[in-house]
Amino acid sequence: MIEIEGLEKLYGDLPAVQGLSFAVRAGEVLGLVGPNGAGKTTTLRAIAGIIIPSRGRITVAGHDLASDPVAAKAALAFIPDEPHLFEYLTVEEHLRFVARLYGVGDVDAQIPGLLGELELAEKRAALPEELSRGMKQKLAIACGLIHRPRVLLLDEPLTGLDPVGIRRMKATIVSRAAEGVAVMLSSHLLHLVEEICTRVLVLRHGRVVAFGTVADIVGGRPELAGQSLEEIFLALVGE
């Protein structure tokens, strides 16, 4: 569903990511981990079409992001760690706005379910300034889900959520993957990655340090056998 070939992004002379090649299949949850500045967010933003790669090719749902960006973007949803909301649209209006952008016909039928799933039903008519940080994050997630994306990109998806929200968010990610959505998420919460991700991509200084299931990664480093993902991560990034 997502195919990356030789992705490279330079900021001036500084490489944020280089030589990145991997694929995410439908129904898979790929965890993107790495220390600060490893290139996780840059990778997600490049796949979302927000930043233009310096080199490489990105394909989303069979559409080349460079030559057919509109079709590629129509298939994906990007949920950033910091929710960017329009301060003058209510919760429901945000959903209607995004639905129109992505050509969702049955928006009236979808809204109640989504608001209920993300515990926003009572805030339907609220403006963003009346929402807490967690609720704003939930609204951003609802906006990302309303068009039933085939590819879901989440940057630190649990930031700002309460324990109940975290549990629901994890369930949402797993259920979307079970429906065949390709999910890619970045997180520093290694227990989350270990719990819900089918494969892990470890980045350091913009390069791939390890890629595969936890078993695959340990398979290449027998000395890490029996360790938690946290200990494996620390060993891989050289801490």
């Binding site: 927000i50 329009f86 301060e87 003058y88 928006v107």
Partner: protein, 572 residues
């Protein structure tokens, strides 16, 4: 403590300058800088205006006219000043300075010191723009006079904001503590009413005599004892600028510096006396300001007005962008009440224009026409419900499945609609105010034809103007304030004026071809249908302008696709 503040401000300024210099490695910024320097050099060196005509200098108009302008700026500060902008501390300042062992008075000194940076830049700009010969004083003396004027106005704006902010936050309790300020404002208001009452008869008599007697009447009104008393502080501030010699400048600086010192004491005492006791409230206010700044929300409150229309689930995705921007206008502006006022007021004035009270309608009509002209020039910079308003959300826009060209069109269309509606509403208002005036030149037929032509061509002019502003925002995002924030106050007058002149020059260039085609059509049709030829001429000009707009939209779309959201301060 001042040394610490100076270190913070100095280091910040130095690092900011270094960052701006690094940005010049990008060819578009370096080319723009070179063009800007050439442009400033041209208008300063080559276009330096000569001395004023002796009759104007001898008429003694400069000082009173300048004083009236300064008085207008002061009145503006009291009526419309946005406390948010004036009182705002940055998030970092609140984080580090508010919990630090610093008194309120020291915080104010920090703020005053920080504002001096902008004031000094503007003093330099205005010193260069005003010809040395214009006021017969050297550049240094002129710079001194400008610095005193700008600093005093800046202090006044700050003090006015403290008073307004305290009154809105603490009501009667604040009114008791601010009684000296409030009494002074009340006296100034009474004085203004008194002057208006005295001058109105003189001005009305002059108005009836034509433009020459009217200008003479203005001179007489400005020379009334009451007017001179009311304008005395403003005349004192203008004194160093209009002094004809170094001795005159020295004499004028005394009163001007005294007014500056009074303002300094006013600002320091007014805040420290009250806010020290209400430190918690002040902190909450600052935190609220920071919170708003983080959210990059509009300085105006968001109302719960219903959307202008229901967004249909199907249709062009770009329609959603247009809808979103119009919702923003409805909820942050007052389009409905403005529309109602224009319609109701226009009808009343139209009725009055047929009666003996027609003079009132005529004066209001001229004022409306002036507002229309002002909106023509300033409107595209003022109405920002387009890409400039969404600059902080550039990454979000980039993730939407909309072709860049469609997105740019939808973004700019909303501002074009809003601005055109406002301008045409004001012009229609003026038209109605003159409706019954048979003696007026131009005649009703010409006025009707021009209004009809404006309905056709004005949206195209606005579209081109807004595309220039949006193109600049996309090409130079680091030079544009995100959202609806604009650099404000007298401190930013110089930069804003330079940007405005550059914008007008670009707009004039883009309008050359449409106007030439329109003029040709007007001359072609003019033999048959007279002034009504303005309508087909406008339609022809509209066609050419639309073609130009199409090219510009394509170009801005390409810039949008290639721009880095991090440049707009949104990315990582």
């Amino acid at each position: 403590m001042i040394g610490t503040f100076a270190y913070l401000i100095g280091r910040s300024a130095r690092n900011r300058l270094a960052r701006q210099l690094r940005r010049l490695r990008q060819p578009r910024y370096s080319v723009a800088l070179v063009l800007g320097i050439l442009y400033i050099w041209f208008i300063i060196v080559y276009q330096r205006p000569g001395s004023l005509a002796p009759e104007i200098r001898e008429a003694g108009w400069l000082a009173p006219a300048g004083a009236v302008v300064v008085a207008g700026l002061v009145a503006w500060a009291w009526i419309f000043a946005a406390e948010r902008r004036v009182l705002a501390f940055t998030p970092a300042e609140v984080t580090f300075l508010f919990p630090a062992p610093i008194s309120r008075r020291q915080l104010i000194h920090f703020k005053l010191l920080r504002r001096q940076l902008v004031i000094l830049v503007n003093t330099l700009v205005w010193t260069l723009l005003l010809s040395p010969r214009r006021f017969d004083a050297s550049a240094w003396l002129r710079a001194g006079g400008l610095w005193v004027l700008f600093t005093t106005l800046s202090l006044h704006r700050l003090a006015a904001s403290y008073v307004r902010g305290s009154l809105s936050a603490h009501g009667v309790a604040a009114a008791r503590r601010r009684k000296v300020s409030l009494v002074a404002v009340a006296l100034a208001l009474l004085g203004a009413i008194w002057v208006a009452a005295e001058a109105s008869a003189i001005l009305a008599a002059g108005w009836n005599g034509g433009i020459g007697p009217f200008l003479a009447a203005i001179g007489t009104a400005l020379d009334l004892p009451a007017t001179r008393l009311l304008l005395a502080p403003f005349l004192a501030l203008m004194g160093p600028l209009t002094a004809g010699s170094a001795e005159g400048w020295l004499r004028a600086m005394g009163p001007a510096l005294a007014i500056l010192a009074l303002h300094y004491v006013w600002v320091v005492r007014s805040d420290a006396a009250f806010e020290e006791a209400a430190a918690e409230a002040s902190l909450r206010r600052a935190e609220a300001l920071v919170d708003r700044s983080r959210k990059r929300r509009s300085p105006r409150a968001v109302s719960r007005e219903p959307p202008p229309y229901r967004l249909a689930p199907d249709g062009s995705p770009a329609g959603a962008i247009l809808w979103k921007n119009l919702v923003a206008v409805v909820r942050t502006g007052r389009p409905r009440s403005i529309g109602t006022t224009l319609v109701a007021g226009g009808i009343i004035l139209a009725v009055l224009s047929f009666r003996s009270e027609g003079k009132v309608a005529e004066v209001v009509g001229w004022l409306a026409a002036m507002v229309g002209g002002f909106l023509f020039v300033i409107g595209p910079q003022w109405v920002r419900s387009d890409l400039r308003g969404d600059l902080s959300k550039l990454d979000l826009l980039r993730s939407y499945p909309i072709p860049a060209r469609s997105l740019v069109t939808a973004e700019v269309a909303s501002s074009t609609l809003v601005l055109s509606a406002l301008q045409l509403g004001v012009l229609g208002f003026a038209y109605l105010a003159f409706l019954g005036n048979r003696a007026m030149e131009p005649s009703l037929v010409i006025r009707s034809a021009v209004l009809a032509a404006a309905f056709v061509f004005l949206p195209a002019v606005n579209l081109l103007g807004l595309l220039i502003h949006n193109g600049a925002a996309m090409l130079y995002p680091a030079w544009i304030a995100p959202g609806s924030d604009r650099p404000g106050g007298v401190e930013a007058l110089g930069q804003n004026m330079l940007a405005m002149i550059a914008y007008l020059a670009l707009l004039a260039t883009t309008l050359l071809l449409p106007v030439a085609v329109g003029a040709a059509v007007f001359l072609g049709f003019g033999w048959g249908i007279g002034w009504w030829a303005a309508v087909p001429a406008s339609a022809a000009a509209l066609g050419v302008a639309a073609a130009e707009a199409r090219v510009m939209i394509g170009w801005i779309g390409r810039v949008f696709e290639r721009s880095d959201p991090a440049s707009a301060g949104t990315g990582r």
